[in-house]
Every structure is written in C-alpha cells, then in structure tokens.
C-alpha cells in the first residue's frame, strides 16, 4: 500500500485528461428521454454509422464519437459542435446500425436542444430568417429555364404569405428572433 506521492507504478506523463466529474452525467438521460433516444444506450461503438456516413470524413467528431460523447456527458462539446448541423440527414447511419440506435434522429434531438440554448450557427439562422421573411428558401425566378420548359413565368398558385404567417408563430420564428 502506498500513498499518492510514492505510487511506484505511476509514470509522469504530459497527459491532460478530461475530468469526468466536470461533465454532465444527466445528458445521456436527457437525450434518452427524447422521442428517438430510447435506444441510445444500445450503442456498442462498432462504428458502422461512421462507415456509412458520406460526410464524416470531414468531421472532427465522427458519428460514433458523437454518440460516445453523449454517453459520457460531453454536453457542451456535442451541442456546440458544427457536426450536428452539417449532418446531411441521409439516414444511412440509422438504417445500418446493428443495434437499432436512431443516430440521425438523435442528431436531430441534439439540434433541437442546441437551438433552445441559442447555439444555432449563424448560417443556419440566416436560412431561418430567409424562410421567415420570404416564406420559402428558394426564390422561383422567371428565368430562361422556365421559359425553355414552356412554363409560365410565375408558379401558379404559389403564395408564400400564409407560410410566413404560420412560421412567425412557430419555434422557428422564435429562434431566429422574428417571431412571438
């Protein structure tokens, strides 16, 4: 038996570990309690999700690492990560997961939590504002393509006004600051 100072098997290292006691142990339960999070715990880190992901090669945190971080309680790192917003929502990870973890849906849950905490990236907020202001993300313009296809310049029956009104009353409106 030895005291801390004289522990013979302890090498001096430059390791600066993440102190688990500084993490949020409730984060995994928070995610688990969300509609798609129930099977979060089933993850055994096989990395099938990362193998399936078409974009993870560009990510610092791969999909399996995001799940791992949720289980560990790395709430701030997950909710402020750029990865959850870059997810293409192709659902390949979720389709292939051998343990039934709803990876894409969990990433949606993370985005919802991040949004509530004001952690939505500026470019996403910009899209939200555009939706709110114009009622649509893409302006249909009366350009040559419609003409070539023999279509009338304006989309018949398209009226973004009701959409704008609805969006103002929704969470999107609140999040981008233009709603109630």
């Amino acid at each position: 038996m030895s005291e801390a100072g004289e522990h013979s098997t302890t090498p001096v290292t430059l390791v600066d570990p993440i102190d688990i006691s500084t993490l949020d142990p409730h984060f995994r339960n928070e995610i688990r309690s969300m509609p798609n999070g129930d099977d979060l715990y089933a993850c055994f880190a096989c990395t099938t999700c990362t193998a399936a992901c078409p974009i993870a090669c560009q990510w610092t945190y791969k999909p399996h690492q995001l799940i791992r971080m949720i289980l560990l309680g790395m709430r701030n790192e997950v909710l402020s990560s750029k990865e959850i917003w870059e997810c293409l929502t192709c659902f390949q990870c979720q389709e292939r997961c051998p343990q039934g973890v709803r990876v894409t849906d969990i990433i949606f849950d993370c985005k919802n939590l991040a949004a509530e905490e004001g952690l939505v990236p500026e470019n996403i907020l910009g899209l939200g504002r555009q939706l709110l202001e114009s009622g649509q993300l893409y302006q249909v313009t009366a350009d040559w393509e419609r003409e070539d296809l023999g279509l009338e310049p304006e989309v018949p029956g398209l009226d973004p006004e009701p959409m704008k009104a609805i969006l103002h009353g929704t969470r999107t409106g609140r999040l981008v600051g233009g709603g109630d």
Binding site: M1, S2, E3, A4, H7, S8, T9, T10, P11, T13, V15, D16, P17, I18, D19, I20, S21, R28, Y41, A42, C43, F44, A45, T47, H64, Q65, R68, M69, L71, L72, Q99
Partner: protein, 416 residues
C-alpha cells in the same frame, strides 16, 4: 474392466464426472486438495448463463427432490463415490488401465458424519470455521495454525465428539483403471502487470474477489464497501484482459472474463442502487448466446470505454484517480473510482504441471492439451487419461459439464 476411476479435482467438472460415473455403477475416487468441494464455483454468487445461485442450479436436473440437496445426496450418500478432501496426488505409476496412485490426505480434524454444525466451536475459537454455508462435506474446518488451549478445550466439549485434534496425515495407495484430470483454474493475481497497481492498494481487486463481496452470504452481506476503510462504494471501474492476450503473461483469451465482468456489472447496476459502473475494454467477447449480458449492461447504464489504462493514482480520500485512453474518442479521460476491479486471466491451477509431467501429457499454455489424434470431443489426454473442465483451458460451467459427460461416455465405452 472399468474402475475404479480416479478423478482429480472436485469442482464442477470433477463432481459431474464422479456423479455420472457412480450412477452408471463405476466406483470413483474423487480427490480434492481443499476441505470442501465446489472449486471456484463455490465462490460465485451468481453463475452465468442462468444467473442462479450456483449451488441451486448445477447437478443432475433429473434427480428427484430438491436440486440444492444434490451435493449432499450424491457426494456423501452415493456409495460408488469415495470423496477424499484435503487430499493430493503424490505419485502415479503403473500402466494405462492399471495405474498405481499414491494419495496423501491431510487431517480434517472434524468427522463430517458426526458434526452437527451446532456452532459451539466456531463461536468460541478462531481455529474453527465454516468455510462457506454451501461447503460440502457440511462440516466445520480447522485451521491448525490457530490451535491454542481454548481450541483444545472447545474440542473436548464437542457434543458429538466429532473433533479429533490429534489426527495425523495419512497416505493411501490405489490401483485405478482410468484417471480424469479436472484440476480447474486459478485466477491470476496480477501483481506482475504494473500499470494496474494490484497489491499496492486494497481497493484494487480482481473479479473473483468482487464476486465474494457481492455474495449475500459473504462478510459484508453483499453490500459493496471499500476494503481500505469500509466506506460505501459509489463508483466501480472494471478492466478487461488483465494478463490475458499478452505474450508477457498469458497468450490466450481467458474467454469467460467478459461475461463474468458483465454479469457483475449487471448485478451492481440492478441490485445496488446508484453505484456507477464503467468497463474498460479492448474487445468485449461475449461468445455464444451471452451477447444479451452486454446489451443488458448497456441498457442498465453501465459505461463502456474502449481503451486502456494510463495510470492509477491513489488519493488521500481513499478513492483512486484513474486515467484512461479512450481509443474511440482519441481522448484521455480521468475517473474517480472507489473500487478498481481487474478481470484477470485464468491460469492452470496449482499441481496441474506436476500431473502433466507425471503422466507424460502434452501441455497447452500450461493447461492439459487433448491428444491430437484423439476424439472429436477433445477430452482424451492420453491412454486411459482424460481431462475436462478448465483443466483444458478457460471454460464456462455448461461447457465443463458437457466435457465431463463426454469423459464419462468415453470411460463407459472402455476408456478409448
């Protein structure tokens, strides 16, 4: 002519072989080094794959009556079984089919047929104790190093005169037709694996030591307390592959430790409210149908960290600071734990090497190797020499039973 058959080791495999041979009419001599049968299984609270208390489920399921009484009824009452505890094999000579075996029996001091477990001696002297509530033969055992005047007085007052402290060791020579090696395993005590600090701090223990702490009939009544100061345990961390899969220690996978650890993690997560369990692993190998333990553990909230231990540093408050490299995250993590449990390798039990050399058998990483041109069941170790259970290498209880039955089948067919 088959019999008598010598069975070395009265653990799961040895007992199964003895009972089945005896029931088939073959005289068997069952030799056990310790004072009680049961082997390592005696120290398990729950055993996989059924999670029953070991003593309630194993044995012959078809035997009428209460299964719990299996050992009592078979090992002490079956006339074809000659059970000899405190006994070791000194020497084997002769030829296959007619081995001459010399046995040495240390005194037990207490006659199990007379002892009524009244508790008179165990309450008055440290020298007498009941090694386990499930011990078989059901009798008090004696530690001869603690015998003092009080112990001698107590012995003379035994109401059934079961105690004879003047008993001496004895030797016996037998001729047997077949030998069954069922010497089992010993859990490696990992002093030699430096980074885990086993032996340097009382809160660093092995899985079998944890099993005893979890046992409701154990010293703490199944409550998890820190060995260092008796404080309640709040955080447990387990480490897999300690000594196993290492060319420096044991080059093989010890096979049962993953399920063993998961079983304990599940017991703690489900029966001990609020204790956090994390398991550090390089692979979780839940072979066969045991994958359910793994999923059950994850559902119960047991944490799994793929990686290895960087260092273990004892703190002044009795806890240990453990730094883990998490290879999935490529990050180092630091945990505070009360109990650091090592899933240590299974090594051949004491005396297995001597039997291997006396009988001229093949050795496989220290365990008994089956003969190459032998049977498909892999239980033949030589001419009229058989091996079953963990003497062959790491195995779970059902496998040990299956191997023991294969041995019985071979012996009944004439030992070939």
């Amino acid at each position: 002519m088959v019999g008598p058959v010598l069975i070395v080791g009265a653990g799961v495999a040895g007992m199964t072989a003895a009972v089945e041979l005896a029931d088939a009419g073959v005289h068997t001599v069952l030799v056990e080094r310790l004072s009680t049968v049961g082997g390592n299984a005696l120290r398990l609270y729950k055993a996989f794959p059924t999670d029953d208390c070991f003593f309630c489920f194993e044995g012959n399921r078809w035997r009428p009556g209460i299964r719990k009484c299996f050992y009592r009824s078979a090992l002490t009452d079956q006339p074809n079984i000659d059970l000899r505890v405190n006994t070791t094999v000194v020497d084997i000579s002769g030829t296959p089919g007619s081995f001459t075996v010399r046995l040495r029996t240390e005194p037990t001091y207490v006659d199990p047929k007379k002892c009524i477990l009244c508790g008179l001696c165990t309450t008055r002297s440290e020298a007498f104790k009941l090694s386990s509530p499930q011990c078989q033969p059901q009798t008090v055992s004696v530690d001869p190093t603690l015998l003092d005047d009080e112990a001698r007085r107590v012995a003379s007052e035994c109401p059934t005169h079961a105690i004879d402290l003047d008993a001496t060791p004895s030797e016996d020579t037998l001729v047997v037709s077949d030998i069954v090696i069922a010497t089992g395993y010993h859990e490696f005590k990992p002093q030699g694996v430096q980074e885990y600090g086993y032996g340097e701090h009382p809160n660093i223990i092995t899985q079998l030591e944890l099993a005893e702490m979890l046992d409701p009939t154990g010293p703490s009544g199944g409550v998890l307390l820190r060995p260092s100061d008796g404080a309640p345990v709040e955080r447990v961390m387990m480490v897999q592959c300690v000594g196993s899969r290492s060319v420096d220690h044991f080059p093989f996978c010890s096979k049962i430790c993953c399920v063993f650890a998961l079983k304990h993690a599940n017991i703690i997560a489900q029966e001990h409210n609020g204790i956090r369990v994390d398991v550090v692993y390089m692979d979780i190998r839940t072979y066969d149908r045991h994958e359910r333990y793994y999923r059950m553990a994850r559902r119960a909230g047991v944490g799994f960290i793929r990686g290895r231990v960087s260092r273990v540093v004892p703190r002044d408050d009795g806890r240990l600071d453990v730094v883990i490299y998490d290879s999935l995250l490529d990050q180092y993590l630091q945990y505070e734990v009360d109990l650091f449990v090592l899933s240590s390798a299974l090594e051949p039990s004491e005396g297995t090497a001597a039997l291997i050399s006396q009988l001229g058998l093949q050795d496989r990483s220290g365990f008994v190797a089956p003969v190459e041109d032998g049977s498909v069941d892999g239980v033949m170790a030589g001419d009229h020499v058989f091996v079953c259970g963990t003497a062959l290498g790491p195995a779970e209880v059902p496998e040990s039973v299956t191997q023991a039955r294969a041995v019985v089948s071979r012996i009944l067919q004439g030992g070939v």
